[in-house]
Symmetry: C2
Subunit: 431 residues, 2 copies
């Protein structure tokens, strides 16, 4: 963890280093992933089976490729009732939030008599990556699957690795709840390639979303264009802007809720009170000692954590914009004043009683958010990621007479005579 003071000499340079810090895996995964993708494209089923045997240590010919809907339904029914209620609440609230994202079609006629508009429709099929192992989060499944279903996607195919054949029942329960249509027990770059190109029993999809490790992220990047993808995901981060009126323990827990995800995550506190900063730092240390995820969280906090002291919280906001954080908590009495100054952030958590964890699970907005400064240009996952827009136009003779001559002039200037001719032929009155 580094401590920075915006008033200190050398701050500009130190903060720039913080902004530019690359927390990406240093392993060169690009080449490995390219080989896997090419292998799956060429050999399909056989490649996926071989890679799964080698990397996940189970034989798809024995375990089967798919997990039956009935198995998912049974996993849901077997949930501890409190957990099932929590999952139900999360699903209902996520659905309600995303319903509001559904775009509206348009169809109008302008003053030139030209009919214009745009029509939205869902993709036919979406693929959903769900990580296995310690990052197997049923909440992520809901966050990816529900927007797809709200968009109207008819076929939602999920892939999830089952290392050593081990299935995570929580994930299956969430798949049932979210209305996932197919569950395939494969993972890694090979699973992304199988979704994009099809492999064995898996038909190709149009869009692939969902979190994953560096291999999965790189596979999505390489297959972008073959399929649509949600975004290039990287290590995630939280920025908390807090004044001294907060309980340091609350803020420490908020910072650690990001740190416990992964050793490459980043947690940054901006505060206008150096004594409060010390109190939070001490609370983090105390909480780390009692946290089951303390080892990971400590590593993340020590390597990437930061506490920045500023003269006023308003002064922090341009610095926050440079970080363009995935998550931004504004733990003050009047968060709107600060929020009005925010230009780049994935999701913003307003006020002292809105810890980021609420947004991870049940609030409703999507928790799949742009990471690694990408909130400068990218948005959280939404219904729009599973839809596409078809524009349309229609002219009658009168409208064509009005727009035709300009079209001909521009086509000729661009050296495209067939373009000009397609209009000129229609304009001729003496045919």
């Amino acid at each position: 963890m580094i401590r920075l003071d915006a008033a200190a000499a050398g701050f500009a340079q130190a903060f720039t280093a913080l902004v530019d810090a690359r927390r990406e895996s240093s392993a060169d995964v690009t080449r490995d992933v390219a080989a896997i993708v090419a292998d799956v494209r060429q050999h399909g089923e056989a490649a996926v089976a071989e890679l799964t045997l080698r990397l996940d240590r189970h034989d798809l010919a024995e375990t089967g490729w798919g997990i039956e809907p009935a198995t998912c339904a049974a996993a849901y029914d077997a949930l501890e009732p409190g957990l099932r209620t929590a999952l139900d609440l999360a699903a209902a609230r996520i659905r309600a939030y995303h319903e509001r994202q559904k775009p509206v079609d348009s169809d109008w006629r302008d003053e030139a008599g030209v009919r214009l508009g745009a029509r939205w429709s869902a993709v036919d099929a979406a693929g959903l990556y769900v990580p296995g192992g310690r990052a197997a989060y049923p909440s992520s499944l809901l966050m990816n699957a529900i927007p797809a279903k709200v968009a109207g996607v008819r076929r939602l195919a999920m892939v999830t690795p089952t290392p050593d054949g081990q299935i995570n029942p929580l994930v299956l329960a969430a798949a049932h709840l979210a209305g996932v249509d197919e569950v395939w027990r494969i993972g890694g770059a090979q699973a992304v390639a199988a979704l994009a190109y099809g492999a064995g029993p898996i038909a190709p999809v149009d869009v692939v979303t969902g979190p994953g490790n560096a291999w999965v992220a790189e596979a999505k990047r390489q297959l972008y264009g073959v399929v649509g993808i949600d975004m290039v995901a990287g290590p995630s981060e939280i920025v908390v802007v807090a004044d001294a009126a907060n309980d340091p323990e609350w803020i420490a827990a908020d910072l650690l809720s990001q740190a416990e995800h992964d050793t490459v995550t980043q947690s940054i506190l901006f505060t206008d009170d150096a004594v409060f900063a010390d109190a939070v730092a001490a609370a983090v240390e105390r909480q780390l000692d009692t946290l089951a995820t303390g080892t990971v969280a400590r590593q993340a906090w020590e390597a990437n954590g930061a506490i920045v002291t500023v003269a006023s919280l308003a002064e922090a906001m341009p610095l926050v914009d440079r970080l363009a954080p995935e998550h931004l908590q504004l733990a003050v009495d009047d968060p709107d004043t600060l929020f009005a100054r925010v230009r780049h952030a994935g999701s913003v958590f307003l006020g002292r009683h809105t810890p980021e964890a609420i947004g991870d699970y049940v609030a409703g907005p999507n928790h799949v958010l742009p990471t690694g400064r990408r909130a400068r240009f990218a948005s959280g996952l939404s219904v729009l990621d599973f839809m596409k827009r078809t524009s349309f136009l229609g002219l009658d003779e009168t409208a064509l007479a009005e727009l035709g001559p300009a079209t001909i002039a521009l086509a000729e200037a661009e050296g495209l005579p067939a373009h000009a001719r397609s209009v000129a032929l229609r304009l001729r009155t003496n045919r």
Copy 2:
């Protein structure tokens, strides 16, 4: 050009071959582009200058990197008046269409007392690639620049190659009209990398859009994630669905208006009348002989053109969906009935008096559209490509009391105790 009959034996196979035909450049540009991108990332200004000298044959130290706004304004003023009026009309109509795409912010409180919403904002800076040489289209510049300006982008930096130092005055005029803020005379993969990372006098941007050759397209693909991009563009295509009541000459010109762009473009006619099909094929041959772009158009038509005869036009629509064409003309009296059956298309041109060329220039909808079957999942360029959405939520003590327990249950089930603690600390009444 191939002729297919949907009723003939072997049609399914032949049509699948048409759908799957790869028209991408076979050259392996991936490696070349990766080297250029790495070079620009590492050596910035010097790399761009060296590549420009080598590939575009002019010395940036002599010609200067930028073109002054005054030069663009002068080019606009010097336009032939008819052409200037045409360009003005195009810009005004494109602006009017895209104004309607501006998203609406939301901010509401739900029944649990949770404040929820989403706020849209423009990216800070966008980069616009404008090809040089024969594909230097002022219309493309308008189609890329105007949505960015409508979105509210403050800094719009355009790159365009000036091979041998030659500047295209039409492009400069369009840049002036569209409100481009910076014009840089560089092109190719190195220009895309310069926009993404910054180089010399060029500051980095957040989003890069615009058409280009295979190198430019691959550079955008490789830099996706460092910046946002509009889409992966490939060879473009038109599908015309026409009955026998059309003038074959009109339809022939429509097919050729796509073919004349490039030898890898594809033009496909679906018709329910074999005699009409013959007439169109004959008209294409006649028109090719008198077309200044005949050499390119003939090559495209002969290699990739197709005429498909179907029993009824309704029967054509599922086939059209499999092609997911960039452009779809429905040249019939009642295009809406057919349009209602279309699931995948970039832009649809309704009725006999709506040649695709109208959409290329002045109608208003964007002509930057998903190619190569990508209309299955992608949309045309829009204002949204230059904006991002920040979601937000805010809870008070009451709302947190309602959503907190479910959050704790889910966080504990996912093995994330700091998440649970950040909520539990706030729920404690006895602190």
